[in-house]
Every structure is written in C-alpha cells, then in structure tokens.
C-alpha cells in the first residue's frame, strides 16, 4: 500500500466533502476551458478572417466600422462610394484585384446580411491557404439573379439549391420587402467565418433591385460632388430624358429571370472595395504607400483590416479575454482554498489516524506526503473532471453557438494553456495542502495516542 493509495482511502472516507471540493475545482476548470475554447475560436475568427486581401477601401469615417461592416457584417455601413470610383480604382496598375461589396439588405427569413458582389470574391482565400468550396453542382454567381449562401444560412433557413428568396431593405422586422427574387445556385462549405452567415448575390442583380439604384439626377450630382467635378447641366437633362423611357418599365411583380435591366453606372454605389495589391516582396510597401495616398485625398480611406482587428483584439476582445481568464483563475484559486479548508478541518479528526501511522513506523515525511497527495489528488481529479466537463460543455454549446453566430467550434480543440493547467493545479494543490501537511508532520504521536 503506497502513499497515494492511503491518500485515496482517506479521500473516499470523506466522500461527500471530497466530492464537493473536487467539484468546485472542476467547475472553475470547466469555466476556464470554455473560455479558452471560445476565445481561441474568436481569436482565430478575428485574426484569420480578413485574409485574401490587403486593404478595404471605403468612404471616410470610422475605420473600425468599415472593417466590422465589411468583414464581420456587423453594424451599418458608413456611407457609399460611387461605382465609378471602383472602376477607376480597378485600373490602378498596383492593384491585382478589386472586389466591390454592396451591403445593406437582409434576408426576409432569418435576417441574414446580403452582400452584393462579383464571382471573383470567391477566388480569394477566406483564411490563409483556404479557398471557398461549394456544393458539387453549385456555381459562384454566374447569373444576375443568382445567389450563393453560407452554410449556416442554408442550415438555419433550410434553403436548398433552386430555392428563391427576397431581400428586405432595413431590418428583417418591419423593413420594406423587395419584389425581386434571387435564386440559390450554390451553398458554401462551412468556413468558420462570418461568410457562413452571409447571403451573397450577384452585384448586377443587387443593383437591379428596385430602389437600389439612386435617382439619376441625385446620383450624378453626388458622384460629381464626390470627385469634385462640375455637373454639365445640358448633358444631365439629356441623360434624364433618355432614362425616362426605362423608368416607364415597371420593375415590380415580374420575373427577372432571363433578362437584365442594366443600371447606368452613375446610379450604382458600393459600400466597400476589397483590394489585393500586386507584388510579393514589395507588397507591404506598396500597400502602405497606396494607403497614405488615399489618406491625403478627401474621397475615401483604405484600411488595413489586420491593423483594425489587432486594435480590436488588443483593446476590447483581449481585455475581455484577460478579464475572463483572471476571473476563472480566481474561481480555481477559491476552489483551492476550499480544498485547504476541507483538508484542514478534517485534520483534527484525523490526528489520531496520523499518530497511528506514525506509531506503525511512518516517518514525518511520509505523513506529510500523504496529506499533500490528498490535496494533489483532489485538485488533479477536479482538474481532469473540469477539462472533460469543459470540453463537454463546449460540445453541447457548439451547435447553438454555431447556429447563432456562425462560429465553427471544435469542442475537442486543445488549447496550449490546458497543458500547463494541470501542472499549475499541482502547484496550487501543493500550496493549499502545505499547512495541513505540516500539521500532520508535527503531530505529537505520544500525546495524540494517549488522548
């Protein structure tokens, strides 16, 4: 019978107290594991999502808002950029790829964000070295009224290839329902990014939705103001006259499949442009130069999404994470103290047992080790139980979180902090077990046995 067996016997003798103290450690560890797993998912999502492009070009305003709206599809867009700005930007020889985004509407069912874009978007990496995958017979927005939906949208709305849906301007509740219908031609494989909760529609179709194009005169005046140009009133009148013929054609209530209504570029706007710069070694330098050039002008801003995300991670998400880890660490420390209280309180009852063992030849170090082992066993037992419960909790919560946020969570993803969790628990156990173990060490055998 070794020290551990003797310690285990003692733990079993005080079953209820031991179970409760181990459970309190398990609870703390469960919370910590949950925080770590969720945190690593958020970390991954924030740090890996904005890849495949170097910059987001958008209207002047909050850089963070631009990133949150464009990448995470959270919050409202700042403003819009004229479509002409996009076409001119695309011609910049330093730019490899420019992908326009038009964000604003949501789906009638589920309120998922709609992104009007071009098929090239799906050629970008959504996280480093990972490309979008689509269902076998799916297509990446070939037609004007085509749509590609994220995996969570498909699952939650129970949408299949060939299904049609309408867009809502504003929020899902109480917004204006557009008459035009988009047809689902592709369902994206899960990406673990906000793309899973997004509905992509062909940008051409997006512009042709009634009400999406700006009134011609207003659009031309806004565009001229944006570029700092003077409006040619004669030309404007002629254009309005030409366009009047198109306006007599009623958009609402008819099927658009098979025919397009081209919208003049002046009436189109984009919310943001994803920009991938050319070059390899000098790409970083070109990006910074391009960014500062835009900064000097008054028209738009180019934002490095990684910088904004890092800012967000460091100043907000990082602080929340640190706070949660500190909080769960405190819970574990409090659990450790409860182990101390439990063992220390039992010491007066166990003084005699310790004296008996000493009389049978157990050395002071042996009884010290037995008590310390109890503390370590309770802490480790609680810790291992906590790790299992923590991952179990994440396993149960993963589908719910995935459905609500689109975050793909692997409940069994092992965080490196978990590796040091058990050694840390052992140190904690040694600290809280030290005083009771010293009480055992100092037991006066003769007087205890004579009591």
């Amino acid at each position: 019978m070794n020290t551990l067996t003797i310690a285990w016997k003692s733990i079993r003798q005080r079953r209820l107290a031991s179970l409760l103290t181990a459970l309190s450690v398990a609870l703390g560890v469960t919370l910590m594991i949950s925080v770590l797993v969720i945190n690593s998912v958020i970390d991954r999502m924030f740090n890996q999502t904005a890849s495949g492009y170097d910059l987001i070009v958008g209207p002047k305003g909050s850089a963070l808002q631009l990133v949150l709206n464009t990448v995470f599809r959270v919050g409202a867009p700042i403003e819009n950029l004229p479509y002409r700005y996009y076409t001119e930007l695309k011609k910049d020889p330093r730019i490899e790829e420019a992908i326009p985004f038009a964000i604003g509407d949501v789906t009638q069912k589920g309120g998922f964000p709609i992104v009007g874009t071009i098929p090239r978007y799906f050629a970008l990496e959504y996280i480093p070295d990972r490309h979008f995958r689509i269902n076998a017979d799916g297509k990446f927005l070939p037609g004007t009224w085509d749509s590609v939906i994220g995996s969570v949208v498909a699952k939650q709305n129970n949408w299949k290839i060939g299904d049609e849906f309408q867009l809502i301007h504003g929020s899902a509740e109480g917004g204006h329902v557009h008459d035009e219908k988009f047809k689902i031609v592709g369902i994206l494989a899960p990406t673990g990014t906000p793309n899973d909760r997004t509905v992509f529609v062909n940008l051409r179709g997006f512009y042709q939705v009634s009400g999406h194009e700006k009134p011609l005169e207003e659009a031309i005046r806004r565009e001229a103001a944006f570029f700092g140009e003077k409006v040619d009133e004669e030309k404007l009148k002629a254009l309005i006259k030409d366009n009047a013929a198109h306006d007599h054609h009623d958009h609402s209530g008819h099927d658009h499949a098979g025919h397009d209504h081209s919208v003049p570029d002046a009436q189109k706007e984009v919310t943001a442009i994803l920009v991938q710069m050319k070059g390899d070694r000098l790409r970083g330098f070109t990006t910074i130069k391009f960014q500062s050039e835009l900064k000097e002008g008054n028209q738009a801003q180019a934002v490095n999404p990684i910088q904004q995300i890092n800012w967000l991670m460091t100043n907000i998400v990082g602080n929340i994470r640190t706070m949660l880890i500190v909080l769960t660490s405190l819970i574990i420390v409090v659990s450790g103290v409860s182990i101390f209280v439990s063992i220390y309180n039992s010491m007066s009852d166990r003084k005699r047992e310790i004296a008996i063992m000493r009389a049978l030849g157990a050395g002071r170090n042996t009884v010290f080790t037995i008590i310390l082992s109890e503390s370590v066993l309770l802490c480790l037992g609680g810790g291992i139980l906590g790790i299992i419960l923590g991952h179990g909790l994440v396993f149960i919560a993963a589908p719910i979180i995935e459905a609500r946020s689109g975050l793909l969570i692997n409940p069994f993803a092992f965080n490196s902090i978990e590796l040091i969790l058990l050694p840390v628990l052992m140190v904690l156990a040694s600290l809280v077990g030290f005083i009771p173990a010293m009480t055992a060490y100092r037991t006066d055998v003769a007087s205890t046995l004579s009591d």
Partner: protein, 224 residues
C-alpha cells in the same frame, strides 16, 4: 538479548515550568523469545515506557537497545523505519484505521517498512487470528474482539523482533481476553518474538512466566 534499558530517564515539563520525572530505570532487560508481563498502576508511566522503547518518544538520557541496536542515537527517520520493521505494536484501543478493511489495515502495517507489502502474507496473518472470513470487513463491521485480532495480525505483519502490547485486553470482554492473549502468546512463540505486555490486571499477568512491576525498577515513585 532482545531489549535492554540502561539508565533511561524521561521527564516532562509541566505548564508551570516545573519538571515532572516519569521514568528513571537503571536496568531492564528482556531476553530473546521471552514474554514478560509488566504491571503498573494507571499513570505509573507504562505508556511512556512503551513510547520510549519504540522510539516514539526520545528518552532524556540512557540507552535503549533492541536486538543489538541502540535506538536513542538514531536519526528520527531511521528510528521510524526501525520501529516499522522490528517492533510490533498492539494498542489498548486497537487503533485500526476506520477507512481500511481488515486486510488493508494489516497491509498498512507493512507499508512503512522497506519490504513490499504482501497481500498473501496479510491474508495468512488474518487466517492465523481466525479472521480469514472477514478480510474485507471494516472495523465498524467487526466486533471488539475481532478488531483486536486484526490489530494483533497487523503487529505481526513485519515479522518484528519485539512486540509491545499496551493493555491489549482491557477493552475486550472476558471470552475475547483469553483468545487475544493466547493469540499473542502463541504467535510470539511461533515466530520467536519477544513480548512486553503492559497490564494493570493481575489476572492477565498471572499467565506469564515472568511478571515485573514497574515501580520495582522505575526509580520515580511519583504517580503521574
């Protein structure tokens, strides 16, 4: 010679600072395989004597030699191991560990020596004391007599050279007194173990060939 005490003195300090002498023994010896009953009134220092012999309590001065080894000069850790391997202890209140079964209590007795605890030997010892059918019973599930028999088996666990028994029959009924006493005496005889049995009962002492009275060789006459 199995046990030799020479000029052993032990005293305690009272709360008021005065010194209270307990033991002052010029010489006391126990031959190999000898069984001695030591009579002493309550508070005469019997338990202190056993504690000094077993090394639980260090003597203030003098020599305690067991099986040729002087234990007072040993480091505590060596003395503890010596006690585990060479001395068997039977207590008045049995002192079995309640969380442990009969078998585990005997195994516990083996756990603090350098030899690996043997379940077979523990079972043999429990069979020797007639408890082969109670191996997995816990002290609470056993009668007082059975508990004391487990204590006897535990005391024999490491094949000691010296067995110290402190009023081993004081807490058991008459029928079991006989049983426990015979067990102890037979086992010691069979395994060539010397035994020093402390008792206040003349009836128990009468069963031994050699009976000593503590006050005869303890120079301290003060009752403690």
């Amino acid at each position: 010679m199995s046990l030799l005490l020479e000029n052993v003195k032990k005293s305690y300090r009272e709360p008021d600072g005065s010194i209270l002498p307990i033991l002052d023994i010029k010489r006391f010896e126990l031959q190999e395989r000898e069984q001695v009953a030591l009579i002493g009134e309550s508070g005469s220092g019997k338990s202190t004597l056993l504690n000094v012999i077993s090394g639980i309590t260090a003597a203030d001065s003098g020599k305690v030699t067991i099986a040729g080894t002087e234990i007072a000069s040993m480091a505590e850790v060596v003395r503890d191991r010596f006690r585990a391997e060479r001395i068997g202890f039977v207590f008045q209140t049995f002192n079995l560990l309640p969380a442990f079964s009969a078998l585990e209590n005997v195994l516990l007795g083996m756990s603090f020596s350098r030899k690996k605890p043997s379940r077979d030997r523990a079972k043999e010892l429990l069979a020797l004391v007639g408890l082969e059918h109670r191996l997995h019973h816990h002290p609470k599930q056993m009668s007082v007599g059975e508990q004391q028999r487990v204590a006897v088996a535990r005391a024999l666990a490491n094949q000691p050279k010296l067995l110290l028994a402190d009023e081993p029959t004081a807490n058991v009924d008459l029928a079991n007194q006989e049983t426990v006493l015979h067990l102890l005496r037979d086992a010691c005889a069979q395994h060539q173990i010397s035994m020093l049995l402390v008792t206040h009962s003349q009836e128990v002492a009468r069963q031994f060939e050699r009976v000593e009275t503590l006050s005869d060789f303890n120079q301290v006459h003060a009752k403690v």
